[in-house]
Amino acid sequence: MAPKSPSVGPRGFAVIIVAALAGILLGVHGWSARHNGGFNALGATHPPQAKSSPSSGPRATSPTPPSHAPTAGPSRSAAGPLLSAQSYSSYSFQVWPGTPSRAATAAMTGLKVSVKRQGSGISVAAGVVGQPASAPHFYPNGARVYIIEASMGDDSNSSDYNLGDDGLVVTDSAGRIVQ
């Protein structure tokens, strides 16, 4: 006996059409905001979200094209708010100084963070595995580097499939965000 063909009906068609139109509208919105996602690496074109909205979580911004000369822009010398005062501080894992913990290592899944001693400070570069890293940036001694990972559930093996909850934060010796 052949299975009965699905009966949709005019109301069902109407609902599907409304859903399709809503999907198109959402897609247009997503397309217009397509550059507002990704790993919040060093060298981002926008300041960290934490500076403008203390209550918000880590947000992603667009990475800049890579270069290989360490830079230290004037905007990075100004210390921001305390990392410990941010809502996402519980999702931050220290990767420098010292050996990253297991949690920090897990949080770095799919990301590459390079910290090197350089003169009187450190040079930090970060990026997504498989993609060019951001330009290295120089920070004076005492700087601490943290990886932000709000959810480990999107990490699998060596891949992080959702970079929207990832970020990198550098603080000064007092724990104030400088990047």
């Binding site: 699905p6 009906g9 069902g12 599907i16 897609g27 997503g30 905001a33 996602g37 093996n157 891949s159």
Partner: protein, 163 residues
Amino acid sequence: MTGQRGTSASRSVTSEPIGRPAPLARQESTATRAVQTAERITTEWGPTAGRILLGLVLAWFGYHELVHPSLWTGYVPILQSTSTAAILAVLAHGWVLLVLAVALVAGIAPRLAAAIAALLLLEIVISLTVTAGLSDLTLRDVGVLGLAICIAGAKGQRLLLTS
């Protein structure tokens, strides 16, 4: 009168077996009825609950893929995750997921919608397995794939919008 007495005695023997205390037998009877009720409810409403929950899963992913496509391009196989083509692929995928979700939740051709969802999930499982190996993420999607297959084959759905 005699016949009625005989029937009454027969019922008494059936409901309370010799050698078993009456309260225990009544407890077993209550437990049996509870199990039967649970079975009936599960049989009648299980596919519907599974269908709606699957729809919610697809709706969540579809919505987020449409609103923040750049966060999901890492899942797109072959294409560079920063490419425009990857963004468009995520948007198209999210749109299909959203329409399927509405069809599943509203009960519009649910078996067809679940079958299409199963195909999408199969593609995702294969893609994840090829790119990242067998992982926790992949196995979670295997479970959702199994749910979609069950819904595609389940008859007796309730709360359908058929006409």
